[in-house]
């Protein structure tokens, strides 16, 4: 990472850390668009991430998305970055969903988006929609993140994409999950060192230590898998690296969220505590853009087709 890259991620971390507090996350979950956060990001140029002339590589944009996961940023950063990339328009707030019938569904913040890109099954086709407020049906995922359905008007423009859009979006979730899980582990470490029972911090109990050692292993695996998928952006096997990463990170998310809630006890089960903003996202994101089983199958079919004698060569890649 060179100085320019560090400047970018440092700036993102500062803005996210300053503005994404519990109050903002709660308000966003009530459906309130985080306008002040978006304004600050715009003032700092983050709304142009993904544009060819933004001076920021796609890998760096994913580093920002990962930080977004770490802070539970209530904006569809991955969809914004990738819509910018595909539409070349950084001025209007864009989001992405998938076409089902005459609607684009599962659109993060479709209610606030000025442009919505609808991916069609298969990968090359998509439609561009400028949503009308009364043509948006509101919904949300289990983390309370808006996932809306947007009607496709008759005059919607068709666009051809040359990139593997679904896999790029999946990588967005992979990166965000890696950041999110790191934060969950940190919350656990802070909590068990503060919380006292039987006259000492619960961190001193071996049962707690071993649970968190397991969680740390899963978080480290998720982090390494996510890095590998980002590193494969220009690689011929990119889609298979995404498959491996989403499958692995998804498995990690389930384990880490479970342990995190256990060590937080009843405190972490309250809405007042911040833990759920991260664990519910980890749970929800497992199922977005294909769950573990979906990606395990894709990778597994490829490995089976390679057969027993070429299996190892595939696994023993350089990068």
């Amino acid at each position: 990472m060179d100085d320019h890259d560090t400047l970018l991620t440092d700036a993102a971390a500062r803005i996210f850390g300053d503005l994404c507090d519990k109050a903002l996350l709660d308000a966003a979950e009530q459906g309130e668009f985080p306008a002040a956060l978006w304004q600050t990001l715009r003032e700092n140029g983050f709304h142009e991430l993904g544009l060819a002339d933004s001076g920021v590589s796609l890998a760096q944009a994913f580093a920002v998305i990962r930080l977004g996961g770490r802070h539970a940023v209530p904006l569809p950063l991955a969809e914004i970055v990738l819509a910018n990339r595909w539409l070349g328009d950084g001025e209007r707030l864009a989001s992405v969903g998938r076409v089902v019938g005459d609607r684009v569904v599962d659109v993060p913040w479709g209610r606030s988006a000025e442009l919505v890109l609808g991916l069609e099954a298969g990968r090359s086709g998509c439609v561009l929609v400028t949503p009308e407020p009364d043509a948006v049906a509101r919904g949300c995922n289990m983390a309370g993140e808006p996932r809306d359905a947007v009607a496709i008007p008759a005059e919607a423009a068709a666009i051809a994409l040359t990139e593997p859009a679904f896999e790029y979006l999946t990588l967005g979730r992979i990166a965000a999950m890696a950041g999110c899980l790191e934060r969950v582990l940190e919350l656990c470490l802070d909590y068990v060192n503060e919380r006292e029972q039987f006259g000492r911090p619960i961190a001193r109990f071996q049962a707690i230590q071993h649970s968190l050692a397991i969680a740390a292993g899963e978080v480290a695996a998720a982090s390494r898998a996510a890095d590998a998928a980002v590193d494969a952006l220009d690689d011929a096997r990119f889609e298979l690296e995404v498959a491996a990463a989403k499958a692995r990170v998804g498995e990690a998310a389930g384990v880490v969220a479970e342990i995190a809630h256990q060590v937080h006890g009843a405190m972490g089960f309250t809405h007042e505590h911040q833990l759920h903003h991260f664990t519910r996202r980890a749970w929800a994101w497992r199922d977005e853009y294909g769950n573990e089983a979906h990606w395990q199958r894709r990778l597994g079919r490829h490995l089976a087709a390679l057969g027993p004698d070429r299996l190892w060569s595939f696994l023993a890649t350089r990068g």
Binding site: A203, H210, A213, A216, A220, A247, G300, G307, P308, A316
Partner: protein, 380 residues
């Protein structure tokens, strides 16, 4: 927070990989084992062939028979051998740790005496750490060595020494000074000649029916003065200094790899969705574990001491080595029992499952490793 850097194997290491594959393609008579476990498969003829290729002690200086190769090159050689199920147990410990110990702490005379035969694949070492009453609590070892006229007099019992009945030497961790307040003080490492010094070696049958590990009893066994490795009393520092090398290698997550190969063979090229998912799940885990392991190799190459990261790779890898056969077993339930592919799968599965209890015990139990990780996380 633990950090696993994005490390890419150097291009030059890929050249070694091609050489190893070519070598293995012509060594079919040595590749009949149904598992990838590094402690089974004692094949001196194979070890000598590896030695002739320069693939044992390959990171050591050329003046001791080594090849001066990088740690990454060694990584590639070892993972290729394990993935192929090659019989590596004869030279494994000598190559992985005994030779490194002698190179780092031994005298010049010891290096010249012990290292060249190791690199030729002719001299094999066993570990002498555990005892009947000292397992995870290694500092409690009671085997003693007392300095006497003409050398050191050893008394005590070492346990679980893999291949001590076949190998030439053991490096025994012994107490050379009485227990003091610092229980890590007063320990030393001494080379024992298993063929000639008079130690009594008794193989212990394991649950797989094999006799690989041993009890080694010392009753007034006298070894010459020049067998102590390093400074007397420095044993604890020495045994812990190589932990990152011992714990992060590919042998910590590939032990059941042959089961995966047989699963893929049995599944055929167009498996139904559940079976494909099982294959993909295993593949995703292995790809990630391997990258984490290579991240640690990169840290070692930079001269760091990533002991916590290595413990984490081993803990995660060992648990997965155990999970792999379980995933595979249930995934193949629809393949008829009498299908020949089911038979070759069952052979690898049974062989590996019976070895699997050792995966999370040897080289640091899962429980010890979790303690190391917890300390790294600031919990103790």
């Amino acid at each position: 927070m633990l950090q696993f850097d994005r490390v890419k194997l150097p291009e030059s290491s890929e050249a070694v990989r091609a050489e190893v594959r070519e070598f293995l393609a012509e060594a079919a008579e040595h590749l009949e084992r149904p598992n990838s476990d590094f402690t089974t498969g004692h094949d001196p003829a194979f070890s000598r062939k590896l030695g002739a290729r320069g693939w044992i002690g390959m990171t050591w200086p050329e003046r001791y028979g080594g090849a001066g190769r990088s740690f990454f090159d060694r990584y590639v050689v070892t993972e290729e051998l394990l993935a192929a199920g090659a019989p590596v147990s004869a030279h494994w410990i000598a190559d992985r740790q005994s030779g490194n110990l002698i190179l780092r702490y031994g005298t010049e005379a010891q290096r010249q005496h012990y290292l060249p035969p190791i690199t030729r694949g002719e001299s094999y070492f066993s570990i002498g750490m555990s005892e009947p009453n000292s397992g995870s609590d290694l500092a409690s070892v009671r085997t003693s060595a007392r300095q006497v006229e003409g050398g050191w007099l050893i008394n005590g019992t070492k346990l679980w020494s893999t291949d001590a009945h076949r190998n030439h030497f053991m490096i025994a961790l012994v107490r050379t000074a009485p227990v003091s307040e610092n229980r890590h003080a007063g320990l030393s490492q001494i080379i024992v000649d298993l063929k000639n010094d008079g130690a009594q070696i008794r193989p212990i049958r394991n649950i797989a029916g094999a006799e690989d590990f041993n009890e080694v009893v010392f009753e007034d066994v006298l070894v010459p003065e020049d067998r102590v490795v390093g400074e007397p009393g420095n044993g604890w520092e020495q045994v812990t200094s190589e932990l990152a090398y011992e714990r992060s290698g590919p042998e910590r997550f590939l032990s059941s790899f042959r089961v995966f190969v047989e699963l893929v063979r049995a599944a055929g090229d167009r498996p139904e969705p559940q079976l494909a998912a099982a294959i993909g799940r295993i593949g995703a885990h292995l790809m990630t574990l391997r990258r984490m392991s290579i991240s640690v190799a990169g840290m070692l190459d930079q001269g760091k001491s990533p002991n916590v990261e290595a413990a984490l790779v081993k803990a995660l890898g060992n648990d997965f080595e155990k999970l792999l056969p379980e995933i595979a077993r249930l995934a193949l339930m629809d393949l008829p029992e009498d299908d020949p592919r089911q038979r070759s799968f069952r052979q690898a599965f049974t062989d590996t499952l019976l070895l699997s209890p050792a995966f999370t015990i040897r080289g640091g139990t899962r429980e010890i490793l979790r303690g190391v990780i917890a300390r790294g996380l600031g919990l103790r």
